[in-house]
C-alpha cells in the first residue's frame, strides 16, 4: 500500500530525560522516526525535554519543542501546531503515558488528531495488565496467575492463591519501577504499600513467581496488510526474576528447538494481532519452564523499546525506521532492506554470529542502595558485543563494560588457581554464597565456582542459569586452566621470564594453535597477560609476529546469503576479512561506551555531531562504539561502524586495518580519553588538542604551574600519600576541604570534609586500599557560585560559547546541579573576567576543539576549579540554547578549519534563558539519600527554555517530573547556616499565599523575623511529625537542608518521604530560591511554548 496522503503533519513524542529504564535507545528510535517521516515528506513536530538528544537537533524535525512532556504542554502544541497525527510509539513509556492521558481527556478528539502506530485501544490492551490477561486468555495463551489489587487487604487475600515467592508490580510505571519479589509476609506487605504508592493509578498486580524459568523476548513487526515478521528471538542468560533490562541477554535464542521456537513465534503473531498493533513493532516476553517447556506470556510492549534497539543493532534490521514507515501506511514488502539492497524488509533476519548484551550498574555511587537484582530495573547502561561464538561475544562484552575487568577475572583471588591447589574453605564458601545472590558480579562468581570445582548442577540450582551457558563458561575456565598448567610447568623448568613463558606456552608443539584458540574464544591480550604474568603489549607483539591478524565480518541480516553493502563490522578471528577499507581520507571517532553515571548520552550526541561534521566536509567517518542504545551505533550514522569494545587492543586492531588520518578522542567522554596515550604511542595521530594538554590539565603540579603562569587563582590544594599526610595537608589548607582519590570519574568517592574527625573517618572507611592513594585535597569554597564554561578554539581564536551559572552552590557535582544559561545573577564584570580567563586557558593549553572550565565565584573572587580540554556534558545544552552546533564546529577545527572560515566569530545574542536540571534514579535504588554532593549521581538532564529565569526553571522542574505548586503549604527544616537565606524565601512564599510550616529551630528563627510560621515536630519529637504531614500530603513543597557534619539519618526520612510522595523537595537554599522565583513567574504569566526553530530563526 502506498503511504498515506491524508496526513501532512505528524507529532512525535520523545522520552524525556535519561532515567533507569529509558535511555539513549529512544533517541535512536526517535531520530530514526524523525528522519524517516521527513524523508517521506511529512512535517514533523517533536516534543522532548532532553536537550542531549540528536532528535532535538533543530534540523531533524520541522518544529522542535524542548518542553516538559506533560499533558498540558502537549495540549498547547496540539492547539498551536494542529498536527494530523500523533506517533506515540517512539518515546518509550513516557510517550505512551502522555498519549493515554491525552486520549482519556478527549484532547486527541478535540484537536482531531489521529493516533498512528498504535491505537488507544491497542495501547490500553497491552498496558493494562488485567485487559492483557484477558486478551491472552482469549487467544489460548497463559499469563502468570495474578490479580490486580487496589488495597493491601485484597493483596493479602490473594496471597493464599499465589503463595511465596510472590511478585508485586505497580501498574503503569516504566522500567518495572516498584516491582519486587516477596519471600515472606512482612516483605510482601511492604512491597504492596510501595507499589500502590508508586503506581500513578494506585493499583498493583500480585503475580505468581516464575523465578528460575527461562526468559525469552521476541521483537515483532506488523503492517497494515497483517504481514508479521519476527526480527529476532533473544534469550536471557539470567532466568526469570531479574528484570530483562538487568539481565545478560543473547541473540539468537540458544536453547530452543525449532518446535518450541515456532510455537513461541506463532504465539507472538497471535498476540500482536489480538492486541491490535496494526503498524509497527512490539516486544513480547515469554517464560518457559525448563523442566517441561510450559510457555507463559509475560508482557508485551506495543512500541519500540530498549530491546528493539538491541535487536536492531544485533541484526541490522532498523526496527524504528521501519516502524515509522509502517505507521504511515507502507507494507513490509514495499520497504527495502538497506543492507542487502536486493531484499525487502518483509523477511526475518538470520544471523551467523552471537550477540551478547551485558548491563552496566552503578551501585557504588549510591550509598545505601541494594545491589540485588530483582524485577525492578537498576542498571544505568549496557554494552553489547558480537562474536562468532557465545564465548567470544561474552568475553568481548565483559571487557566492553569499562569496569576494568578484561575478562572473566577471579573476584576471589583465584586467577592462578588450578585444581589440586590449596583452597581456603572459607573462600569456597564465599563463592557458593555469592553465587546464590542475583548480583551484577554473579557471572564472575560462577566462573570462580567452576574454577574451584563446584558442581554445575549446584550452580544451576543456585543461579538458574541454563546449563548450556554454564557449559560455555566452563569451557573458558578450562581453557584458562590449560594455559595455567602449561605456564606452571614452564616456570618449573625455566627462569621467570615473561617472554620465555609466552614462548613455552605458545611456541611449543600445538602452541600457536592454542594461541589462535585463545583469541577465537575471545580472550583479550590483557587477560592472557594476567594469566601468564606478562604484559598485554608482550602478548600483542608475540601474536602479531606469529599469527594472522584479527578479521572483521559484516552484520548483514541474512547470514551471508546476500551481499552486504553496509559496512557494519565486528571482529573475530576468522578465515577472511570483510572490512575492505577504502583509500579515502578518513577519521575514526571513538564513542563513549556503555552509559553510566557521568558518561551518558551527551557524549554520544557529540560523537554523532563529529561524524556529521566530517561528512559535511567529505571526509569518511568510522565510528567505534559498543553501546547498542545509541544513535552513534546506527549503521547509517557513519560511513563505517565497528561495533567493538573501546579498549586498547580492539581499538588498535581497527587502526591497523583502517589506517585513518586521525582519531577523535575528545568527544566520547572519559572512555576514549583513556585511550589517547596508547593510541598516540602507537603512532596514530590524535586530532585536535594534543593529549599532553589533557595530562597537563589533570596533573596537579603541572596545572598549578599553569594557573600561576596565567596569574589565575585556584583553591588551595595538596596531595596526600597517606592518612597522616592527609591530616597535615588539610590543616594547612584549612577546613572544610574536598577530598577524593586521584583518579575519579563523575566525582566518585569525593566528599566534603568539615573537620579532622570526619577526615579520619573518610580515610578509614572510604579509602579502602593503599592503591587509592594519593588523595587529592582541595580547599572547599563555602557559599561560592559554581560556573561551567564551554568554549571552542581552533588554536588561534577562542569562542566562549556558553557561561552557565549553577543554581546550587559550589561543591555539588556540576553534573548534578541545575544551571542557567546565560547566568541569572552574576554581574557583567564577573562574566567578563570568566570569559577572559577561559580564553587565556584555552590559548595556554593550545586547545583545538572543545574545552570545558569550571569556575567558582566566591564574593568577587574567581577560582579555576577544573579544566577539561574535551567535550563536556553541557555541549548539547549550550548548542541548543545558543543555536550553534558546537561539537560540529569543534570537529571542523580539528581537521584544520579556522573558526573564521567557519564564520563562527561570536555567540549570537539571545533574549531567552535556558535552565538545565538533573534527573536522579533515587526511586529505583532502595533507601538512598537524595542529598546532593560532590559525587555525581544523576542519570540524565532536561532543559527548560523561556523568556525569563522563573519560567525556564519552572519548565525544567516540570520536565524533571516535579510540578511546582501554585499554592499550599511548605514545610521547612534548614540548617543554621541557611536560616538567614530562608527568611527571604519564606517572605516571598507568604506573599504568594503559601502557608508556612517549619521545624522548631527554623520556625523560631522565622517567627523572630515577623513571619507567620506554624511549628511542626521533627520525627524524634513525637507525633504528628513532619513526615506524617508529608505522608498525608498536607505539604506541597518541602525544604530540607542539612550540615554535612551532622548525621543525615534523622532527616533522611523527610527527604525519602517527599521523594516517594512525589512532592517537590529542595535540599539547597539556592534550589528553593529558584523554585520560588519560578512559582512567582508561573503566577504572573501563563505558560508559553516555542519551538527551537523560533528561538533561532535562520
Amino acid at each position: 500500500m502506498p503511504k498515506r496522503t491524508d496526513l501532512r503533519r505528524i507529532l512525535l513524542i520523545g522520552s524525556g530525560p535519561i532515567v533507569i529504564g529509558q535511555a539513549c535507545e529512544f533517541d535512536y528510535s526517535g531520530t530514526q522516526a524523525c528522519k524517516t517521516l521527513k524523508q517521506e515528506g511529512y512535517e514533523v513536530v517533536l516534543i522532548n525535554s532532553n536537550p542531549a538528544t540528536i532528535m532535538t537537533d533543530p534540523d531533524l524535525a520541522d518544529r522542535t519543542y524542548i518542553e516538559p512532556i506533560t499533558v498540558e504542554v502537549v495540549e498547547r502544541i496540539l492547539e498551536e501546531e494542529r498536527p494530523d497525527a500523533l506517533l506515540p510509539t517512539m518515546g518509550g513509556q513516557t510517550a505512551l503515558n502522555v498519549t493515554i492521558a491525552l486520549h482519556e481527556r478527549g484532547l486527541l478528539e478535540k484537536y482531531n488528531v489521529q493516533l498512528i502506530g498504535a491505537s488507544y485501544k491497542a495501547i490500553n490492551k497491552a498496558e493494562d495488565r488485567e485487559a492483557f490477561k484477558w486478551a491472552m486468555k482469549n487467544i489460548g495463551l497463559t499469563t502468570p496467575t495474578s490479580r490486580l489489587i487496589q488495597t493491601r487487604e485484597d493483596a493479602i487475600s490473594f496471597l493464599e492463591i499465589v503463595g511465596f515467592p510472590a511478585i508485586v508490580r505497580p501498574s503503569f510505571t516504566l522500567g518495572g519501577s516498584g516491582g519486587n519479589i516477596a519471600y515472606n509476609r512482612e516483605e510482601f506487605e511492604r512491597y504492596v504499600d510501595w507499589a500502590l504508592l508508586t503506581s500513578p493509578v494506585g493499583e498493583a498486580l500480585i503475580e505468581r513467581s516464575l523465578i528460575g524459568w527461562k526468559e525469552y523476548e521476541l521483537e515483532v513487526m506488523r503492517d497494515l496488510n497483517d504481514n508479521v515478521v519476527i526480527v529476532c528471538p533473544i534469550e536471557n542468560f539470567d532466568a526469570m526474576g531479574i528484570h530483562t533490562g538487568d539481565s545478560i541477554t543473547v541473540a539468537p535464542a540458544m536453547t530452543l528447538t525449532d518446535k518450541e521456537y515456532q510455537r513461541m513465534r506463532d504465539a507472538a503473531i497471535r498476540i500482536i494481532q489480538e492486541i491490535g498493533v496494526d503498524t509497527g513493532g512490539s516486544n513480547i516476553q515469554f517464560a518457559l519452564n525448563p523442566a517441561n517447556g510450559e510457555m507463559i506470556v509475560i508482557e508485551m510492549n506495543p512500541r519500540v523499546s530498549r530491546s528493539s534497539a538491541l535487536a536492531s543493532k544485533a541484526t541490522g534490521f532498523p526496527i524504528a525506521k521501519i516502524a515509522a514507515k509502517l505507521a504511515v501506511g507502507y507494507t513490509l514488502d514495499e520497504i527495502a532492506n538497506d543492507i542487502t539492497k536486493v531484499t525487502q524488509a518483509s523477511f526475518e533476519p538470520t544471523i551467523d554470529y552471537v550477540v551478547v548484551k551485558i548491563p552496566r550498574f552503578a551501585f557504588e555511587k549510591f550509598h545505601g542502595s541494594n545491589p540485588t537484582l530483582t524485577t525492578q530495573m537498576k542498571s544505568v547502561g549496557e554494552a553489547m558485543a558480537l562474536g562468532r561464538t557465545f564465548k567470544e561475544a561474552f568475553q568481548k562484552a565483559l571487557r566492553s563494560l569499562e569496569t576494568d575487568r578484561c575478562g572473566l577475572i577471579s573476584l576471589n583471588g583465584l586467577d592462578h588457581y588450578l585444581p589440586g591447589d590449596e583452597l581456603d574453605p572459607s573462600v569456597l564458601e564465599h563463592i557458593r554464597t555469592a553465587m546464590r545472590v542475583a548480583h551484577p558480579d554473579r557471572p564472575w562468581h560462577i566462573a570462580d565456582g567452576l574454577r574451584t570445582g563446584v558442581p554445575k548442577d549446584e550452580i544451576f540450582a543456585a543461579t538458574h542459569v541454563d546449563p548450556w551457558f554454564l557449559d560455555q563458561i566452563e569451557e573458558l575456565v578450562l581453557f584458562e586452566q590449560r594455559l595455567l598448567a602449561q605456564a606452571r610447568a614452564c616456570v618449573q623448568r625455566t627462569t621467570d621470564e615473561a617472554a620465555t613463558r609466552l614462548d613455552e606456552v605458545f611456541d611449543g608443539p600445538g602452541g600457536l594453535e592454542r594461541l589462535k584458540e585463545a583469541k577465537r574464544l575471545g580472550f583479550s591480550d590483557q587477560r592472557l597477560a594476567q594469566l601468564l604474568d606478562t604484559t598485554a603489549a608482550a602478548v600483542r607483539t608475540f601474536r602479531n609476529d606469529r599469527l594472522p591478524r584479527v578479521t572483521y565480518s559484516r552484520v548483514d541480516t541474512c547470514a551471508a546469503e546476500f551481499e552486504a553493502f553496509t559496512p557494519y563490522l565486528y571482529s573475530t578471528y576468522g578465515h577472511e576479512c570483510e572490512a575492505r577499507p577504502t583509500n579515502r581520507e578518513k577519521v575514526v571517532i571513538l564513542g563513549g561506551g556503555p552509559n553510566r553515571i557521568g558518561q551518558g548520552i551527551e557524549f554520544d550526541y557529540c560523537c554523532v555531531h563529529a561524524t556529521l561534521a566530517l561528512r559535511e566536509l567529505g571526509i569518511e567517518t568510522i565510528m567505534v562504539n559498543c553501546n547498542p542504545e545509541t544513535v552513534s551505533t546506527d549503521y547509517d550514522t557513519s560511513d563505517r561502524l565497528y561495533f567493538e569494545p573501546l579498549v586498547e587492543e580492539d581499538v588498535l586492531n581497527i587502526m591497523e586495518v583502517e589506517r585513518p588520518m586521525g582519531v577523535v578522542v575528545q568527544f566520547g567522554g572519559q572512555t576514549p580519553l583513556k585511550l589517547a596515550l596508547p593510541l598516540a604511542r602507537a603512532g596514530i595521530p590524535i586530532l585536535g588538542t594534543d593529549p599532553d594538554a589533557i595530562d597537563l590539565a589533570e596533573d596537579r603540579e603541572r596545572f598549578s604551574a599553569l594557573i600561576t603562569t596565567l596569574g589565575l587563582r585556584q583553591p588551595r590544594n595538596g596531595v596526600a600519600r597517606s592518612g597522616e599526610e592527609a591530616f597535615a595537608v588539610a590543616s594547612r589548607i584549612g577546613y572544610p576541604v574536598i577530598v577524593r582519590p586521584s583518579y575519579v570519574l563523575g566525582g566518585r568517592a569525593m566528599q566534603i570534609v568539615y573537620d579532622e574527625q570526619s577526615l579520619r573517618s573518610y580515610v578509614e572507611n572510604t579509602v579502602m586500599s593503599a592503591d587509592q592513594y594519593p588523595l587529592l585535597i582541595d580547599q572547599y569554597l563555602t557559599d561560592a557560585i559554581e560556573v561551567d564554561v564551554d568554549a571552542v578554539s581552533d588554536g588561534t581564536d577562542v569562542i566562549v560559547a556558553g557561561i552557565m551559572e549553577h543554581v546550587e552552590e559550589a561543591g555539588i557535582h556540576s553534573g548534578d546541579s541545575a544551571c542557567s544559561l546565560p547566568p541569572h545573577s552574576l554581574t557583567t564584570g564577573l562574566v567578563d573576567r570568566i570569559r577572559t580567563q577561559t580564553v587565556a586557558l584555552a590559548r595556554e593549553l593550545r586547545v583545538v576543539g572543545l574545552m570545558n572550565v569550571q569556575f567558582a565565584v566566591q564574593g568577587n573572587d574567581v577560582f579555576v576549579l577544573e579544566v577539561n580540554p574535551r567535550a563536556s556534558r553541557t555541549v548539547p545544552f549550550v548548542s541548543k540554547t545558543i543555536g550553534i552546533p558546537l561539537a560540529k564546529v569543534a570537529m571542523k577545527t580539528m581537521v584544520g578549519h579556522s573558526l573564521r572560515d567557519l564564520n563562527f566569530t561570536k555567540v549570537p545574542a539571545t533574549r531567552h534563558i535556558a535552565v538545565k536540571e538533573s534527573v536522579f534514579p533515587f526511586t529505583k535504588l532502595g533507601n538512598v539519600d537524595v542529598l546532593l554532593g560532590p559525587e555525581m549521581r544523576s542519570t540524565g538532564e532536561v532543559m527548560g527554555i523561556d523568556q525569563d529565569f522563573g519560567w525556564a526553571f519552572a519548565k525544567s522542574q516540570a520536565a524533571a517530573g516535579l510540578s511546582l505548586p501554585h499554592m499550599g503549604t511548605i514545610i521547612m527544616s534548614v540548617k543554621d547556616g541557611d536560616k538567614p537565606g530562608t527568611v527571604n524565601v519564606a517572605k516571598r512564599l507568604q506573599v504568594l499565599g503559601f502557608k508556612l510550616q517549619a521545624t522548631r529551630g527554623t520556625a523560631a528563627y522565622l517567627l523572630d523575623r515577623g513571619l507567620d510560621v506554624e511549628p511542626v515536630n521533627k520525627v524524634k519529637e513525637g507525633r504528628p511529625h513532619l513526615v506524617d504531614h508529608i505522608k498525608n500530603r498536607q505539604a506541597q513543597l518541602v525544604v530540607n537542608t542539612v550540615d554535612t557534619t551532622s548525621s543525615h539519618n534523622d532527616s533522611l526520612s523527610i527527604r525519602r518521604e517527599a521523594l516517594q510522595q512525589n512532592i517537590p523537595y529542595f535540599t539547597t537554599i539556592q534550589g528553593i530560591q529558584a523554585a520560588v522565583t519560578a512559582i512567582e513567574a508561573m503566577k504572573k504569566a501563563p505558560l508559553t511554548i516555542k519551538p527551537l526553530q523560533d528561538f533561532h530563526p535562520t
Binding site: 496488510n225 528447538t257 518450541e260 497471535r270 514488502d333 518483509s346 547470514a559 546476500f562 570483510e578
Partner: protein, 393 residues
C-alpha cells in the same frame, strides 16, 4: 583432544577443522542452510540426500536431539559442517547430543570451520561437490581430496529419489499432536474435519510433517514408492494425490512424469518442493538449477492472490521456469488448461507456487509443512482439502 578434519571443495578450497560425528570420509554437494533452529529436522530430511549441509548458525547442537523431531526414519545428509557443535545439549526433551547422534547414524561432520567464509564462497562460486575427511595422514592429502571431489558425479546425474523413497506402500495416521501448526485466531487447534479423505502420497523423499499435516486435515494417508504407476494409484481410489518433496534434480525422476500426467485432472493434486517441480515437468514446464539454492527458514514469499507475505521454510536447488519468466503473474497455457503462478519469492522473484485454473492442482516450491521453519503457509493444506471437497461436490 579432538581430531583434525579436512573439508575440500571441488574448486580447490581446503579448510581445516575438527572432526565431528562419525569418523571417516564423506562426500556430497555442499549447500548452506541459514535456519537458526531445526538442525535435527534438516539432518533427517530426505531432500538432503546427496548433500552435505553447512549450517550458518554459529552454534549447533545446543538443544540436543529429541525423537519427536525426526522428519523421516533416518538421517540423509551426507555430511554436516558447523562452526561449533555443542557437546552437551540443554533442553528438557533432549535425549542425545548431536555428536552422539551423528556417530550413531554414521554421519561424518566437521566443526571449527569459518562457516561464514564458506557460505560467502558458495554464494559467489555456487554450490559444488566437497569431501570431509577425518584423520590427516590416514587418508589422502588435501590435493587428493580436491581431485576426488572433482571426480564426484554431479547431483543432476543421480537418481537420488530412488535411494530415499520407500520400498513399499504404507499407511500413515499420526498428526502433529502436541506441536500443532494450525491454530485459529483463538489459539485453538482447528478441529479435524469429520469427513475423511484418502490421500496417496508419492514418496520422492517425503518429510513426515507433510504426512502429519495431511492427517491434521482429516486425511488417511497411503505413502507409495516414487515408481508407483498411475494405474496402481487409481486402484487405491484416493480422493487426492500428493507429490512430496525430495532430493536432487527433477529430471532424475522423469519416470514419474507420465504417471502424474495420467492423474492430472482425475483427482486433486498437491505438490511440495520436488513435487512442485514434478508437477511443473508434467505440465510441460522446465526446471533449472539455482546458483546456490534457497535453504533457510526466513524466505519471504508473496501470495500473488492476496498480496500477503509469508515467511517460509525453503530447501531447493532447482526451480520451475515459466516460459514468460519476466511476467510470472500471467497465465501459463498447458495441455491441462491454464495454470496461474500463485507465489513468488520476494528475494529473487523465483516462482514459488502454481495453481490450475481448470484442473484441481496446486503446488509450492517451499515448505508449508515447516519443520523446521515458520507456520505461515500452513493454510495450503486446508486449500488442498477444499479442492478435494469441491471435487466431491
Amino acid at each position: 583432544m579432538t581430531k583434525k578434519a579436512i573439508l575440500a571443495l571441488a574448486d580447490g578450497t581446503v579448510l581445516e577443522g575438527r572432526a565431528l560425528g562419525y569418523e571417516g570420509e564423506t562426500s556430497g554437494e555442499v549447500v548452506f542452510n541459514t535456519a537458526m533452529t531445526g538442525y535435527q529436522e534438516i539432518l533427517t530430511d530426505p531432500s538432503y540426500k546427496g548433500q552435505m549441509v553447512l549450517m550458518t548458525c554459529p552454534h549447533i547442537g545446543n538443544y540436543g536431539i529429541s525423537p519427536e523431531d525426526n522428519e523421516s526414519r533416518r538421517t540423509w545428509a551426507e555430511g554436516f559442517i558447523v562452526n561449533e557443535a555443542s557437546r552437551r545439549p540443554s533442553n528438557w526433551r533432549s535425549e542425545l547430543s548431536l555428536h552422539e547422534y551423528l556417530v550413531h547414524h554414521q554421519i561424518v561432520g566437521i566443526e571449527g570451520i569459518d562457516t561464514r567464509f564458506l557460505t560467502r564462497h558458495l554464494r559467489t562460486h555456487g554450490s559444488q561437490a566437497g569431501i570431509i575427511s577425518h584423520g590427516a595422514g590416514v587418508n589422502d592429502s588435501p590435493d587428493d581430496l580436491v581431485a576426488k571431489a572433482n571426480a564426484l558425479p554431479s547431483i543432476s546425474e543421480q537418481d537420488l529419489v530412488g535411494t530415499v523413497t520407500c520400498d513399499s506402500a504404507y499407511y500413515w495416521n499420526e498428526g502433529t499432536g502436541a506441536w500443532p501448526q494450525r491454530l485459529n485466531a483463538y489459539g485453538q487447534v482447528d478441529p479435524t474435519p469429520a469427513r475423511q479423505f484418502h490421500v496417496v502420497v508419492y514418496d520422492f523423499g517425503v518429510k513426515q510433517n507433510i504426512l502429519r499435516r495431511l492427517v491434521d486435515e482429516g486425511c488417511t494417508v497411503t505413502v507409495v514408492p516414487a515408481s508407483t504407476t498411475a494405474e496402481t494409484v487409481r486402484a487405491l481410489n484416493p480422493d487426492g494425490v500428493f507429490l512430496s518433496n525430495g532430493p536432487g534434480d527433477p529430471e532424475g525422476v522423469s519416470y514419474a512424469v507420465p504417471h502424474i500426467q495420467a492423474l492430472l485432472g482425475w483427482r486433486p493434486i498437491m505438490g511440495i518442493c520436488l513435487g512442485h517441480q514434478m508437477l511443473g515437468l508434467a505440465l510441460g514446464l522446465s526446471a533449472y538449477k539455482l546458483k546456490f539454492g534457497h535453504h533457510g527458514a526466513n524466505h519471504p514469499v508473496m501470495d500473488l492472490r492476496s498480496g500477503k507475505v509469508e515467511i517460509t521454510s525453503q530447501n531447493h536447488n532447482f526451480a520451475v521456469r515459466l516460459p514468460s519468466a519476466e511476467e510470472p503473474k500471467g497465465l501459463q497455457e498447458t495441455p491441462w488448461g491454464p495454470f496461474k503462478a500463485t507465489h513468488v519469492s520476494l528475494n529473487d522473484q523465483c516462482l514459488e507456487g502454481l495453481v490450475g485454473t481448470t484442473v484441481p492442482a496446486l503446488s509450492v516450491q517451499y515448505h508449508p509443512e515447516a519443520s523446521p521453519g515458520p507456520h505461515d503457509s500452513s493454510y495450503l493444506f486446508r486449500q488442498f482439502r477444499t479442492m478435494m471437497e469441491q471435487a466431491h461436490a
